[in-house]
Symmetry: C2
C-alpha cells in the first residue's frame, strides 16, 4: 500500500531551504511508493496542530518547483520548538505518531539545523523503541552557519558565502574611491562558528589590493592587536576591510559586543544595552586611530539574499532533498541526508545518509589549522574548502522588475 510523505521546515530562514523542499517534492512525486506529499506549516509545531497543506496540489508543475527553489526563507514557515524530554513526557511523540497514522504518513522529512536534527533523533528514537516500524524519519540539513557535523558543508551556506564575498568585492571598490585613510568593518552572523565571516576571504585580492583583516570566533580576539593590525595596514594602504563575527570574543570568553565599557552604553530609554560587535570596533577605531570608519551589520540580509545565490548550493540543496526521500523509501530512519566531498578539483560530492546521533546537538567549528598564526586571516586550505561552494549563479525570477516567489501558506 502506498504511503504519504510529510515534509516540514524548521530553524532560521536561508536562501536554500526551499530548494531542499523542492527536491523532496520532486523525488516524492516520482516514487511509486509514495502517494501524496504533504507539508506541515511551521515545523513540528504545525505537525502537532495538524496544519497540513497538500504539496502535490500546490506545487504541481516544473515551473512552480523551480520558482520554489528560488524563493527565500521557509515557504512552509518555521518554528523554534523543542519536543519535550522523552524520559519525562513522551505524550507529544505518541501524538505525532497518531497524527501520522491518521494521515497515512509513512515518511517524514524534517529540514533544519542542529535543533531540528535533535527532533529527528528523538522522534525516530521513539518510533524504534515503541515498535513503530511504518514511519521513517529523515533529516534534511540546512543552516547558513555551516556548523552541522556529519556533512562536508551545509545547504544555504554557499549562497550566504557568495553574498558575503560579493558584498566585500563591492565594498572594496567603494572604499578605494576617496583618497583618505578609511576603514570599513562588516559584522557577519555566527554566534559560535566563524564560517560566514571567513567567506570574506574569497573576495580578497580579486579586485584590488586592499588588505583584509578577518577575525573569527574560533580565535580569541585581542583589542590591542586589532588596533595594531589596523595601524600597520594603514601605514602602507589607504584602506582596510575588516570582517568580524558577531560572536568574536576575547581569551576570557567575553564577547566584543560586551566590551569597551559597553555597559555604559544606554539605549534611548536610558537602559543598558549591547552594541553590535562592528559598532564597538568602529568606536575603537574612531577613538584610537581617528580615521574615517564605518561599520555595517549584514543582519538578516545575509541569510535570505536569494537575488544572488550560488548555483552549486541550490543544486546540492535540491539533491539533498531528493536523497532524503530516497533514504526514507529505502527504509532508513534516524538519519540525515548528507554529502561528502570526493574531490576539490574537479569538485565532486557524493550523497548518503549519516546517523543522526553524529549530528544532533553538535557543532562544527573552523579548525585551528585553517586560521593564520596572527589570528587575523585564513589559510589557503580554508579558501580551497570554500571556493567550490560559491561557484555558479542563480538569481530570483523577476516579474515587472521585482522578484517573484512561490507562497505555500
Amino acid at each position: 500500500m502506498k504511503k504519504n510523505l510529510l515534509v516540514a521546515q524548521s530553524g532560521g530562514p536561508t536562501a536554500a531551504i526551499n530548494a531542499t523542499l523542492a527536491g523532496v517534492i520532486r523525488k516524492a512525486t516520482e516514487c511509486s511508493e509514495i502517494d501524496k506529499v504533504y507539508g506541515a506549516c511551521n515545523g513540528i509545531q504545525g505537525v502537532l496542530e495538524e496544519k497540513l497543506v497538500d504539496l502535490t496540489e500546490k506545487v504541481n508543475t516544473p515551473e512552480k518547483l523551480d520558482l520554489l527553489s528560488r524563493t527565500p526563507a521557509a515557504a512552509l514557515g518555521s518554528c523554534r520548538f523543542k519536543l519535550k524530554d522523552i524520559h519525562e513526557d513522551d505524550s507529544q511523540y505518541q501524538q505525532i505518531v497518531d497524527i501520522f497514522h491518521k494521515h497515512n504518513i509513512g515518511y517524514f522529512i524534517y529540514i533544519g539545523g542542529n535543533d531540528s536534527m535533535d527532533t529527528v533523533a528523538k522522534l525516530s528514537g521513539y518510533c524504534k523503541s515503541h515498535g513503530v516500524a511504518d514511519i521513517q524519519v529523515i533529516g534534511g540539513p540546512k543552516t547558513i552557519d555551516n556548523d552541522l557535523c556529519g556533512i562536508d558543508h551545509c545547504p544555504g551556506f554557499g549562497s550566504a558565502a557568495k553574498y558575503i564575498a560579493t558584498v566585500f568585492s563591492e565594498l572594496e571598490r567603494e572604499i578605494t574611491v576617496y583618497e583618505a585613510k578609511n576603514v570599513i568593518i562588516v559584522e557577519m552572523m555566527g554566534r559560535n562558528a566563524g564560517w560566514l565571516t571567513a567567506a570574506a576571504a574569497l573576495a580578497q585580492g580579486r579586485n584590488g589590493s586592499v588588505p583584509y583583516l578577518i577575525y573569527l570566533e574560533e580565535s580569541p580576539f585581542s583589542m590591542e592587536r586589532f588596533v595594531k593590525d589596523i595601524k600597520d595596514r594603514l601605514e602602507e594602504h589607504d584602506a582596510v576591510l575588516v570582517a568580524v563575527s558577531e560572536g568574536a570574543h576575547d581569551e576570557t570568553g567575553q564577547f566584543i559586543c560586551e566590551q569597551g565599557q559597553g555597559a555604559k552604553e544606554l539605549d534611548v530609554f536610558g537602559h543598558n544595552k549591547l552594541s553590535g560587535t562592528g559598532k564597538v570596533l568602529e568606536e575603537v577605531v574612531k577613538e584610537q586611530i581617528g580615521c574615517k570608519v564605518r561599520s555595517i551589520e549584514l543582519n538578516l540580509l545575509q541569510r535570505c539574499a536569494s537575488h544572488i545565490m550560488s548555483r552549486t548550493d541550490i543544486e546540492e540543496s535540491g539533491k539533498l532533498g531528493e536523497n532524503a526521500v530516497a533514504l526514507a523509501v529505502a527504509g532508513e530512519s534516524g538519519k540525515m541526508s548528507t554529502l561528502t566531498r570526493v574531490s576539490d578539483e574537479p569538485y565532486e560530492v557524493s550523497y548518503s545518509g549519516v546517523d543522526i546521533s553524529q549530528v544532533a546537538n553538535l557543532e562544527k567549528k573552523i579548525p585551528a589549522s585553517w586560521i593564520n598564526e596572527e589570528g587575523n586571516g585564513v589559510t589557503e586550505e580554508l579558501i580551497a574548502y570554500l571556493k567550490p561552494l560559491v561557484q555558479g549563479e542563480i538569481s530570483s525570477v523577476y516579474e515587472d522588475g521585482i522578484p517573484k516567489y512561490l507562497l505555500l501558506k
Copy 2:
C-alpha cells in the same frame, strides 16, 4: 584639429556611475572630432594635480567597456572638493584651463551630483567670462538620492531602488516565517529626500500581504503616530515592515536619530553619540509595544550593489554619458546631459541638455501630493513614477564565483 576629451567622476559611489563613464568613452571614440579620451583620477582634485590616465588605451575593447558598465563605485576615484569662490580667488580656474590647454583638452565631462554640477557651473562660467571658447564643459548626472533638478530621475537611483525593493521582497518572506508578532525596520540613505525609502513601496503586495509603513523626510514624523500605526497593523497582521529615511524628522525639524533621549546615549568611551534612525525606532517598538523587532541599516550596501542592477538604469546611464559627449562636440557648455520622460506606458525617454543653473545647488524632493494623507505611505502616482526605473536585470560578471570588475587606477 582634433581635441582630446577629459572625463572625471565625483561625489558618492553608485552602481551606475561607471556605466555613464563607459558611455562617454564609447561615444568619444566614435567621434571624429575627438582624439584621445583621458580620465582624471579623483575628480576635479585630480585635474588640478594632473593625475590623468589614458582611457583610449585602458578601455580598448567592447568587453572592457561592458565590464566597466558593471563595475560599482567610481572607477576613476572620486573627491569631495569644492572649487574656491570665483569672486574671491579664481586662480584654480585659470590653473584648470592651463592644464586643459597643455593636454589639448577641448571637452570636459564631469559626472556627479549637486556639488559636481556646481563645479560645472563655475568652470563653464569662468570660461565664458574669460573668453575661453575652446573648452566645452558638460555635466553627467549621477546620484542614488534622485534629488537632482532638471532631470526626470537620476542615474544610479533605479538600481538602488531595485536593490531596496528586492531586499523588502526578501524580508517579507523572512518576517512571515515564524508565528509571532514581528516588526522589521529598514533605514535607507537620503538626508534630504525620501526617494530611496519610497522605493520599498514597489515590493508591497507583490509577494504576500504584509503591511508596509513608509516614512519619508518630506512628511513630518510623529513618534506617537508611528506607535499607533504599528499597533493598528499588528491587530490584524502578525508582521509589519517599516521603511524609514535616515533624515526622518519631526515637525520642529529635529531628526528622529536625535530623539528619544538620544542625548543620553553614550558610545563605548562614554561620549554622547547619535543612534541611527532605525535603531531609535527599534527601541521605541521594544519599549512601547514589546514585540519582536529588528532594525536594519542598509548603509553602503544600497549604493553600489552592482550584483542586482536595473537594466533600465544602466542603459540610460550609458546613454546619458554618450549624450554628454554629443552636447560637448556640438559646442554646448555649461549644460548637464539630461533625460525627459515622454511616457510611462510604454516607457519612453528623450535625451537633451539642461542649463546647469537649473541644476546646481538645487534639490528635488518628493511632491507632497505623492505621499498619502496619513504620512505613512505613498500614492499610486509615486509608484507609477518609480516602476519603469527598476525594469530589467543586469548583474555582475562572475569569474570563479566572485564578481569581476574593471579597475582603472
